[in-house]
């Protein structure tokens, strides 16, 4: 009896609880069309009335890889042009290649500590930097007013070299590399790494002390 009465109440609720009105179908559809972009996906006029030009424009679609390739080609072209051609249109001299030979020759290539590729690369880059700095110093010597700038550049370069050497010095065999780098820069003002030098007692340590 209790269940019957409750079920009767629930059946009544199905008719009376929040009884929905007639849905505003057309109003809702207009809003849905606008929000879902269905209006633009289908032409409002028949296809036959569209001019051939519009049809051709719709049918012509550029594949995405063409755009990517074009961007790549343009980027490479701009990069090459900016490297080879100078500001005045004359091909720029690539001094770094010729200069790089000088410090590379000073690197003891038969040194077993420099047999790994990244060490050779690091030595070459630092050698190029030192050589370019030397070229930068020459015109500065001619201008007495720039002597202050020269000293500042000199200090900055050697300070940077020392920082690089300290960073490299955390790895094993650092004193040997430091000796090679020092010979590239031609500077005797290298800070003695108090933490790394006593750490090694083999030939690398002797090499460092001999160079110092």
């Amino acid at each position: 009896m209790t269940d019957d009465r409750f079920d009767k109440l629930m059946r009544d609720a199905a008719d009376t609880f929040r009884r929905p009105p007639e849905p505003p179908t057309e109003e809702m559809w207009a809003e849905i069309e606008a929000r879902a972009g269905l209006e633009s996906s289908t032409p409002a006029v028949p296809i036959a009335s569209i001019t051939p030009r519009v049809q051709a424009r719709r049918g012509f679609r550029i594949p995405s890889w063409v755009g990517i390739a074009a961007t790549l080609v343009i980027g490479i072209g701009i990069g090459r042009g900016s490297t080879v051609v100078g500001r005045d249109g004359v091909p720029a001299r690539i001094d770094t290649i010729a200069v790089a030979e000088l410090p590379s020759a000073a690197v003891p290539r038969n040194d077993p500590a420099l047999d790994r590729p990244y060490e050779v690369e690091a030595s070459q880059y630092l050698g190029q930097t030192a050589a370019q700095t030397g070229q930068l110093q020459r015109p500065l010597h001619r201008d007495p007013a720039a002597l202050g700038v020269e000293s500042a550049v000199h200090a900055a370069v050697h300070g940077a070299d020392a920082t690089c050497a300290d960073a490299v010095g955390t790895a094993q065999g650092a004193p040997r590399r430091r000796a090679g780098l020092r010979s590239l820069c031609g500077s005797a003002a290298w800070p003695r790494p108090a933490t790394t030098a006593p750490r090694t007692t083999d030939g690398s340590s002797r090499h460092f002390q001999r160079s110092a």
Binding site: M1, T2, R5, F6, K8, L9, M10, D12, A13, A14, D15, T16, F17, R18, R19, P20, P21, P23, P24, T25, E27, M28, W29, E31, I32, E33, R35, A36, L38, E39, S41, T42
Partner: protein
């Protein structure tokens, strides 16, 4: 299904509701995905009435029901490519509806709590002859006061006539969970109605 009957779907939403989901639903979806506006309208005609009914039952407000129905179809059209066809399209649409309503109703909950006069918002029809109006009003208020998971289950099962399987698919729960929720919801409703019922009638 013949072409003639397929053409009837366009002009008769009721027929479309009964047949489109079984026969031409994948084709309809494919046409909608290809940008066919007429197919989108067919899909809308086939399902909008029930989506609106469900939204209205869950919200009790015509404006909110309209807004949530629109949200449901906008979201459905934008995500139709993700519909894998594991369940019926109607189940998928009703799941979106319940999600849209649940998320939005949390924001308007304060306004719902301020509504004090139930009759102003939900006019009671005169269809239920023989039912005590006070008892009916108490039941309606008790349904509205149910926790959301219970209220949704009661509305979908007892009010809208969904099966437990359908509710479980829409809500993403196990069928046993759905039955348990309905049982607990009914128990709470009985407890609310107990003091209004004749002595001993609603005491469980």
């Amino acid at each position: 299904m013949s072409d003639a009957s397929n053409q009837q779907h366009v002009t008769s939403p009721v027929v479309a509701l009964q047949t489109t989901a079984r026969v031409s639903e994948p084709d309809l979806i494919a046409r909608v995905l290809s940008g066919d506006r007429i197919a989108a309208r067919e899909l809308y005609d086939a399902h909008s009435s029930r989506v609106y009914r469900l939204a209205f039952r869950l919200t009790g407000d015509a404006d909110l029901a309209r807004e949530f129905t629109q949200d449901t179809f906008v979201r459905a059209f934008s995500q139709l490519a993700r519909f894998r066809g594991d369940a019926a399209l109607s189940t998928w649409l009703h799941r979106i509806t319940v999600t849209v309503v649940a998320n939005a109703m949390r924001k308007v909950k304060r306004f719902r709590e301020r509504e004090t006069d139930l009759e102003d918002v939900h006019p009671i029809s005169s269809d239920g002859a023989g039912v005590d109006p006070v008892l009916r009003e108490r039941l309606h208020r008790a349904i509205e006061d149910l926790p959301e998971i219970y209220r949704t289950t009661v509305i979908m099962h007892d009010i809208e006539g969904y099966t437990h399987t359908e509710i479980a698919e829409v809500l993403g729960v196990a069928e046993g969970t759905c039955k348990s929720r309905l049982s607990q919801a009914r128990a709470q409703l009985r407890a609310v109605l107990a003091d209004l019922a004749p002595r001993g009638e609603y005491e469980s």
